[in-house]
Symmetry: none
Subunit: 404 residues, 2 copies
């Protein structure tokens, strides 16, 4: 079912929808036969909501696919993440909360070390400290060549995001990163004629960067940059246009704020970085939007670092705050994750994600528990993450009848 | 999986299949946590059949989509209802049991009132009584222009179906209905060259209709017609060609008889309009066909009018007659609906539909209950309605092995 078809059925309504995403929610037991993080967590509020909900397990991008945060979010937002792929350069820029625009061309960058012959000796310049990296980024930021602006945004240690902004830039560009030491950086090459201008300007930017780095701290180990993963944002139809939804995003980290912006959500300012601050922002803006996306990061951070107990605590923290959402009487509530991050794997995984759909006219399963095995018994069954949004819209009475 | 692929696997067999469709079968409880209409109904025969069946929940057109009867039926008949869309004009003609042919162009019509300047003052001519509408329709029926026949079939009150039959007619035509009073009717315009002949003839038909109405009852309030939703039947491959099935339809209402005819079923004559008459027709014709579709309307009528108890009774009525089908020893029996029509919503809905697949070699779930939550636990899981038919054909040993 494609988005255009759905768009044709969307009708206005005054209903409210809220989507709680606990990043990397799905998990695994520490020992075979044991409980997952979510099953271990004491979640009286989620369990009570589950009893009035339809439950299921969502597959973010496809069977067996462990998605990154970009595709994981696009999926639960209702988009096919394989069709709307967010490339690495664009993700890097979104990740630092850069306001990436549709025509910007972005790349991932490294500060690196080359020898006198120009051969890369260290692709990461000794993993230089983030503070040094910020200093060097500000040195390179603001370069303009032939009317094209270059933005250099520090990510962490040696990593930065490069964004080129200006007319007529294509993104079909090759990496300069040789991907191993002992080789010289490669020139940027255009893979199609429409990207030749961008290739030429990127190479001139690299030349200027080398000179600026050499002049800044002569004989320093950080004397060159490497670029890879040039791309642009995919053209994603926006919530407002698709569904007539005024949507707001409540998220702390740049990546999630960026993906929300990509689908046309208004990213709200927060007074702090805790879940309490996020729920406070929800309450404050409740009257102003139809749809709210709330993102909670700690579940994934704990999962990726192998901290089973920390992930349990992060789930319990969100559960403890849930009454602040339910008190708002949202017509529809979705609780899910963008993917699984089992602590035992210390990484994202392909495991389907526990998902709860509450609504006043949902056909509730009567299962008073929110967990992986409870969701496996739910009436939503195993479903593609992108199919959750249409069902949620239907429950919000925002889709009209198809055919007579 | 497309129909051509299935067609390539179809093999002849002597098995019999029966599909019971209770229109709008799926429901919701009156109170959260309560029982749905189907769960409330006392259905000993369906429950006994369920015990020997595989159960599941079918999604008629797509997640979150509330289908009309046309797409709902195409889905459970095995077709993708989004691909084979039946337009409004064609549906209107099918709905009055008109034998619409593949090349006919159909539209929805209204009798209306225009003032002396030709401006529409009432789009529904005061919702004129159906009997008057029939009189006016017979006045316009039988108009022929340049070898094209015009059929005018009363629907109800001011509504009629117009069908144009003749060579070289396209259906890419605009509405004459201005969709609000205070504007004059629009001329029919062709949206592509292949529809120019049809546009010209439709406009001449409208001129003749106006003259006939004026001459019939001078100064009457019903003095003009409005047309909208011109279209043709989609080209749907027929059961006989796809699966080698001699299929019969047992249905009272025109819409269902029409959709059955569209997929190549023989629509049987009935001695009356009750479920008893329908089962009698089944018994009488049992030897003559491979596949029987039986349609029961009351479940939907009750659901759409918010009559929970009436829907329960309608289900119980079908349950009471079910032994007349099981006595025939059908190899495969499907019991499902074309969509849900929960009484609490008083409308069609997107909720998945309880579905039972009985067969001698089905892998039975051993769940002795036919209801929404029982089906949610069934081994068919949540599946697209169009996938039921291939599984049913397999159980009827009408599909051969794919590959070696």
């Amino acid at each position: 079912m494609d988005l255009e078809f759905l768009q044709g059925l969307a009708v206005p309504a005054r209903t409210k929808m809220a989507m709680i995403i606990m990043d990397g929610l799905g998990g695994l037991p520490l020992e075979p036969g044991g409980k997952t993080e979510l099953e271990t967590a004491h979640t009286p509020n989620l369990d009570a909501l589950a009893a009035q909900s339809a439950l299921g397990l969502t597959v973010p991008a496809g069977p067996g696919i462990s998605p990154g945060s970009g595709p994981g979010h696009l999926g639960i937002f209702g988009y096919d993440p394989i069709r709307y792929e967010i490339g690495r350069g664009a993700l890097e820029a979104l990740g630092v909360d850069f306001d990436l625009r549709p025509d910007d061309v972005a790349a991932r960058g490294n500060f690196c070390t080359v020898d006198a012959a120009g051969v890369v000796t260290d692709r990461r310049a000794g993993r230089l400290p983030t503070e040094v990296s910020r200093e060097l980024a500000s040195l390179l930021r603001g370069i303009q060549i032939d009317g094209v602006e270059f933005f250099v945004e520090t990510v962490k240690e040696h990593r930065f995001a490069l964004v080129m902004r200006g007319p007529g830039l294509g993104e079909a560009l090759t990496d300069t990163d040789p991907h191993q030491a002992g080789l010289p950086p490669l020139p940027v090459r255009a893979l199609e004629p429409g990207s030749e201008k961008a290739a030429r300007l990127a190479n001139r930017f690299i030349d200027q960067a080398r000179e600026l780095l050499a002049g800044h701290r002569p004989r320093a180990a950080t004397n060159m940059i490497l670029l890879r993963g040039f791309d642009r944002l995919p053209k994603v139809p926006a919530y407002q246009d698709l569904f007539g939804l005024r949507a707001a995003a409540i998220a702390v980290n740049g990546m999630y704020r960026g993906v929300a912006r990509l689908v046309g959500m208004t990213v709200l300012d927060l007074d702090g970085v805790t879940p309490v601050d996020e729920f406070a922002a929800l309450e404050k803006s409740w009257g102003d939007f139809d749809f709210f996306y709330l993102h909670f990061k700690k579940t994934d951070t704990a999962g990726e670092s192998g901290d089973f107990a920390g992930k349990v605590r992060a789930i319990e923290e969100v559960d403890g705050l849930l009454p602040r959402l339910t008190a708002l009487k949202s017509d529809v509530i979705i609780v899910s994750g963008d993917h699984s991050s089992p602590a035992v794997l210390k990484s994202h995984s392909w495991h389907p994600v526990p998902t709860l759909l509450y609504g006043k006219i949902v056909r509730a399963d009567g299962i008073a528990e929110f967990g992986e095995r409870a969701c496996a018994r739910g009436s939503l069954g195993m479903l593609a993450a992108k199919d959750v949004m249409p069902i949620a819209l239907a429950n919000a009475q925002r889709l009209t009848k198809f055919g007579a």
